[in-house]
Amino acid sequence: MNKIIHPIEPEELMAYLDGEVTADRATATAAHLGECAECQGVVADLRSVSQNLKTWKVEPPKSATPAIAPALAENRPASRNVFPAEWRSWREVLGQYWPTVAWAGTAAAIFLLVFGTVRFIGSNANNVFSQVGSQIENSGSSRDRITASLSPPSTAPVNGREFTQLLQLSPGVAQTKQPAAQQEQTTNGPLIIRTADLSLITKDFDKARANLEALVKRHRGYVGELKAGGSTGSERTLSATLRVPADQLDLTLTEIKTLGRVESESQSGQDVTSRYVDLQARLANARNTEQRLTDLLRNRTGKLSDVLEVEQELDRVRGEIERMEAERKNMSNQVSYATLNATITEDYKAQLQVVPPATSTRLSNAAVDGYRSMVDGVVDLALFLLSNGPSLLLWGAILFMPARLVWKKVRRSFAA
């Protein structure tokens, strides 16, 4: 047997020809091929198969493509893309006719000057300016609205320099209105999540509840959760989780205290400045990674397995970004809006005894209980008979004759 042992499998030779081996295996294969005539034969065979297959050529498609154009026409790009295209075309048109437009404009200006209509235009312009001026003056009073509209969208990219902007943005997550004063405070000071608990007892429950809701609205807060329990026959309790702007917390607390007698009160603050900064940094990093991976996926072509790997990594990074983004929003919301857990209990009713149920109810309850106990007794008897009946019968049968004899003897002795 003088067969040669080959370091390269024939399959690998084929993969080498197809460009499907790694660089080091390709080098090894090429080296082996250079000296092995048998493997060269295999390669030649494989090549001849490919060449033979290539003789089956398909003529190019002949007809037009009637289905493509309508489909393309149907598939209009999104409106955001349409606008720039039209805009560019306007610019092109303007560029093309620029001298004409310029001449026409100059002529119109001269015409207006000559006929003394400048004054008319001037008065219009003044009107326009006065309108703008009034808007600027009004902006002081409606500062919150303007600030809200200037805030960047919640999906704005995050990096270190935008830290302060993001802090300003945070109130907008839950509530669009946000006074500039509060933004300043949030931006400059440490980030503290404030929580307060307040328990009250009030005599007029309905009024206290209405007042509570009104004062929350007045302080630009909102009711996160509200539970009211108890019926008119018993004491009523209201427990509410209120979210009020952090700077309004003290004022809100003072006002809520006027609604009744304070039973307990507590306040706490959690400093999350370092956590927030850390989160921002991690978010920025993750976004950079996502961008790099997207670029990689878009611009590089490679093996499907590599593409899938990049894809998986991208999915993971995106998931992380979403999670961190949610955490960041949540934290911002918690910082800018303090949480106030208020419990209001009705005072007057709480001191009353619980009214006993009506006589008819008690009678019907007793009847139901009696019926139930009767049914239970019957069922119990049936169960007892079923479970012990056979044994009783057996013992009865066994003991019947001796008992009868004893009985007869006793009767006889009595008779004697």
Binding site: P10, E11, D45, W56, I68, R76
Partner: protein, 199 residues
Amino acid sequence: MAPTLISDEALMLEFQGGSHPAFEQLFARYRGPLYGFFRRRLNGDQRAEDLTQETFVAVIRASAQYEPRALFRTYLYSIAMNLLAAERRKRAKDSPPGKDAPEPATREAPDSVLWIRHALEKLDESEREILMLREYEQLSYAEIAYFQSLPVNTVRSRLFRARIALKEHLEPERCNPEKVAASESKKNAGLPRVEGEAI
């Protein structure tokens, strides 16, 4: 200086943004190969053209949902394969049983083409598909593995088997058609021995 070749994926993203020239480029790149894909697998050139167009229409309609998760080529051929499978199902349903073998067009085909096609028909269906995807569509092993739902190594070994079998089928037909049957038994004859095999 040679013009930079824009990747298919970049073109598709451009088309997604509304660029029709980008689609035209993609169409020009893949119309011929796709037509060949259908033409070699189906009977009738008109149907092949229709299916080529249907593939592109599907790409256009689904363009809003396109994400560059994989190569555009993979995306395109997966649509084409779905259409081909649907077409084959339809034909199998319409035609009586027993005549469902894929029969590409034969008219005007030269002898050499017939010779290749006959040899291909003798292959196992899965091996034939793998071989055709590799030789005619020039897909990578990984892509074929994806389409066939097979491990890459299986694709590689089946491709190898298919090539060797095809070689055997081609050779006797060219020399002497009577020897075709005899060649079946010698499918793997003449292969070099692999390290680790018993001598």
